[in-house]
Structure formats: structure tokens, C-alpha cells
Symmetry: C2
Subunit: 306 residues, 2 copies
């Protein structure tokens, strides 16, 4: 199998050695012009390359380096006849658990308000409830959402879930309607895939249904949020604060209102990065399955959108 490794957003050096070492019996190319297009059977890439993949007539697998594949599904030049696999790196799940836990604890303990007090040189003590008195709502019960829900439960939080399909998790309360979910959750974490049904889900109606003194945390995709609706909602105090790792346009433009908003925390799309070593092992397993004619891991259902 000849493999073409392409990076559009991430530095190629971050991936190259790990992929080469994980695929010792394959030839790994990093520039399309070095190859005969007919050779290439596997493309491994963070996002759809600028040049169409259509010219690789013998392509049998597109392996995403990212868990979110909305970029691939929204690109009309990507051949839909070729199987597309998401990255299911166990390190990414662990990293997301760590980031989500950090942000939820920050919101739970009012560290956002303490930070604002610091900027005003104001000393006012906080008598916080314990995690067991705090309800955290997770939007999305996929790989990441379910893992984060379990981790927060172990820390003592009361966890609510909203998702398309009901997914029973011990100690997690599932809601079928968004309004009831939002009115029962003081901290809301978005871990949804980006699909036609979830694009723009965090809109004016959504924020109006949130609780006073709530915090909204977006670790999904920027396009889940209608940014102007969020700004207007923060002005009304629902939510009281937003923590955003993802944005409609990334990098977030330097003139964007989010940067200097006192009730928005901006993190630079860093909540969960794949680990090249463990992610390369996942890629190698999928290449082995391709050779052996076995079912791929992380195979994307193009209709569901993930």
C-alpha cells in the first residue's frame, strides 16, 4: 500500500515520524507530486487537501487525523465512494476528559468571577456548593461526550445528557428535549458532532432557555454557535460566562469581539489534540484492516454526518 500523508492546518513534522514508524512496510509520501497518482491507496490527512483527491483512482481509504470530519463531509471534491474514517485516538478522549473537567471545575467554582474580581482588585469570598450539588449538562453522547459524562460523575457532579439517541450511562440523566435539559443544567458542555441538525444549535432560543448564572462551554465546533446570539445572551446574563475552544473562523480573527469580552474565555482550539504516537497506532490498525478486508474503525456514516 502506498500512503500519502498530508497536513493542511497542523505542522507535518508533528505527524511524519510517528506515521512512518507505525507503518514500517508501507511507503509513506508527503507530497503528491512525488508519487504516481495511481499508486496511492490511502490518504491520511488532517483536513481535505486543496487539490482534489479525485485523481487518485485507486484510493481505498481516507483516514482523518481529526475526530471531527465535518470538513471532509462539506467538501464536494472529496470522493464519496471512498471510505472515510475518523480518528479515534484514545489519547484524544483522555485529553478531552482533562480539558472538559478543567473548564467545568473552573465554572463550578466561580473561578471566572474570581478572575474578574482580581482585575478589579476586589476581595469577596465565595461559598461554593460541592460538585454533588451541581448539575452539568453534556450535549452529545458520542465517544467524547460519554467519556466526559463518566469522568464528571466520578468527580461527584450530577450529570445530565442530551443527545439524538438515548444512551444509558450509570448515574447520567438523559433528556429528550433541549428546553428541559437546559433548564436543569447549570453548566452546559457542547461535545456534539457538527451535522445539519446541530449547526447553529446554540442560538438565541437556546440561550434564552439556559438558567441564570449558568456557564456555556463549547468544545465541539465553532459552527454550533451563532456568535452574535451568544454576545447578546451574555449581555442578558444567560449564560453568565462562556468558555470557547472552537470558533466559526479559526484562528479567531484578531479584531473579533470575543477576545476582549470580560465574560468570554478564549482557548485556541487546544482542548483535545491527537497524540501522534497513539493516533499513528490507530491509523496502522485501520491500514491492517484494509489489507485484511476487515471492517474499518471509525468508519463515517456520511448520512448521519459522523
Amino acid at each position: 500500500v502506498s500512503v500519502l500523508l498530508l497536513c493542511r492546518a497542523e505542522p507535518l513534522e508533528r505527524w511524519h515520524d510517528a506515521i512512518v514508524q507505525a507503518l514500517p512496510s508501507e511507503r509513506v509520501y508527503t507530497r503528491a507530486q512525488d508519487t504516481n497518482a495511481a499508486q496511492i491507496e490511502v490518504v491520511i490527512a488532517d483536513a481535505p487537501p486543496r487539490e482534489s483527491l479525485g485523481r487518485f483512482a485507486n484510493l481505498r481509504l481516507i483516514q482523518s487525523l481529526w475526530m471531527g470530519v465535518d470538513g471532509w463531509l462539506n467538501d464536494a471534491t472529496v470522493p464519496t465512494s471512498v471510505p472515510l474514517a475518523r480518528m479515534l485516538d484514545p489519547s484524544m478522549v483522555t485529553a478531552m476528559i482533562e480539558s472538559a473537567t478543567a473548564h467545568v471545575l473552573h465554572a463550578h467554582l466561580h473561578h471566572d468571577d474570581m478572575r474578574r474580581q482580581q482585575s478589579e482588585r476586589t476581595w469577596r469570598e465565595f461559598f461554593n456548593p460541592l460538585a454533588r450539588e451541581r448539575r452539568v449538562g453534556i450535549l452529545g453522547m458520542g465517544n467524547l461526550g460519554a467519556a466526559v459524562a463518566r469522568a464528571l460523575t466520578r468527580l461527584g457532579f450530577r450529570v445530565n445528557a442530551w443527545s439524538r439517541a438515548q444512551k444509558p450511562i450509570d448515574g447520567v440523566r438523559w433528556f429528550g428535549t433541549l428546553d428541559e435539559f437546559l433548564s436543569a443544567s447549570e453548566i452546559v458542555v457542547c461535545l456534539l458532532p457538527l451535522t445539519g441538525a446541530t449547526r447553529g444549535i446554540a442560538n438565541a432560543k437556546f440561550f434564552a432557555a439556559m438558567r441564570a448564572d449558568s456557564v456555556f462551554i463549547n468544545l465541539g465546533r465553532g459552527a454550533h454557535v451563532i456568535e452574535d446570539d451568544l454576545l447578546a445572551a451574555l449581555d442578558r446574563g444567560k449564560p453568565r460566562h462562556a468558555i470557547l475552544d472552537v470558533f466559526a473562523n479559526e484562528p479567531l480573527p484578531s479584531e473579533h469581539a470575543f477576545w476582549s469580552h470580560p465574560r468570554i474565555t478564549v482557548t485556541p482550539h487546544s482542548a483535545s489534540m491527537a497524540n501522534p504516537v497513539t493516533a499513528a497506532a490507530f491509523v496502522a490498525e485501520n491500514v491492517r484492516r484494509l489489507r485484511a478486508g476487515e471492517a474499518l474503525l471509525g468508519a463515517v456514516d456520511r448520512d448521519a454526518g459522523y
Copy 2:
């Protein structure tokens, strides 16, 4: 038993009803002048009252509402013949686990650097290691330190400990020398009691032994830190950041340099507040033990200083 409940720093209303309900067969006074001094057998207070306790000739127990009793031990008007008990509210341990975990994750994930980037409108992604690749050092293996060490181990962190007495905890590496402990820890959390041996422990020599890119978190007492030494150490980048919940003078004076320092996070001594309901249950158990002639919980060893 007649009980006198006094608050000097905390609002009395926070405690009154819970204490009265937990001690249904005792008379609870809140003002010394309402009582006959000879009646009072138990004083429950957050800190030593301004007026000496010496006039309560029949005093048999001083029950602190706080876990740290350095205020009592450093006050020469407190009768040393009367047993002094610390507050060992299980809710305080849980609260400290939550706060310490929040701050350690914040440091681990470089959320301090992300916050500074936000203030500069700079987008630079972070590729963070996982908790299992991060070494967190805990100073102090008392009730709180040991509980925090266990919680961080469960989250995957590699945990180091430094304490006066060796205390074996599964998965925690104990160090006998401070220099070795500091050079092996990327995030250092102070949960020491304040004693003659620990006062000013975080001084120039201590910070010089820390690692580059390390973070110092003080959840113990303000007097553990030589504040000018910390400011000088931050200028040298060791540690890169400090998160401080406690200060030599509280409330932190509004002109203090810490408020506006870009590498210091100030939280208003709120990491672990006793929960009046569970703390009152602890107080009631000690009053019961006093009546029954049983050993008190949280009895302070005045020589050890905690």
C-alpha cells in the same frame, strides 16, 4: 453544656442555625455578655475572639470552625490548658479536592498561558501532554494533602509528596528532601499546616530549586510564602505562574502588587470552606465526646502546631 458561638471573620448567620440544630440539648449563646462566664464550657469560633477566653473558668473545649489553627496557637491569650480541636469537616476535604484539582488542571493545560494569549489577542495552539506525563508535587500529607494526592492519582497524574513524616499512599512518590522534590515536580501545591518549621518555606531558595515552566499553587497559609521572594522568582520565570488562595494579609490589600501581576492568579481564600451542616455535625460529635469523656476528634498537638 453551655456553648458560646463566636465569629470574627465569617458572618455569624452562616453558622448559627446549623450549630443550634446540631446541638438541640445545649444552650447556644452568640454574645459573651448574655452569659455568665462560669457557664461556658465550649467555645466554637472561626478565630480567637478579641476578648480573652481566660475569663471562662470552666471552659473544657475550644472548637475551631477552621481546619487551620495557627491563629489560635499564635494568640497568647488563648488558654493552653483547654483542649483545642480543629475542624475536620468531610465537606472541606471534598471542597479542597475540587479546588486543588481545578488549579492543577489549569496549570497542567497551560490555561494560564492561554489566558495571557487572550489578553494579547494571540492565537497559538497548545499540544499538551496528558496527566500521566505530568508530575504534581504536594507539600504536606495531612488530611487535605493525602486526599488531594489520591484524587490527582485517580485523574492519572504522577504525584510526588513531601512531608515531615513519610506517609505511604499508593502510587505517590515520597521525597525526604525538598530540593529533590522540587526538581521532580512541574506543578507544586502547598497544603502544609502553618508551623514554626513551615513558615516562610516558599522563599528564594525554594523557588530557585523549582523547575523552569513550573507552577506554584498555595492553598495552605499566606505565611508559607515570602511574598517578595515570589515576585522576584516570577521575574526569573521559576515558577512561570503562581496561583494563590491565601495571603500574608487578608483581605489582600487593594494596592498589593499581586492583584495586577500577569503571572499571578488571586483567589479570595475560598478554596475550601466548611459546609455549616456537615461541620456542625462534626462539632456535635465532639461535644458528645466531651460529655462522654471520650477522645476528641481533631485534637490539636500544640507542640507539632496542628
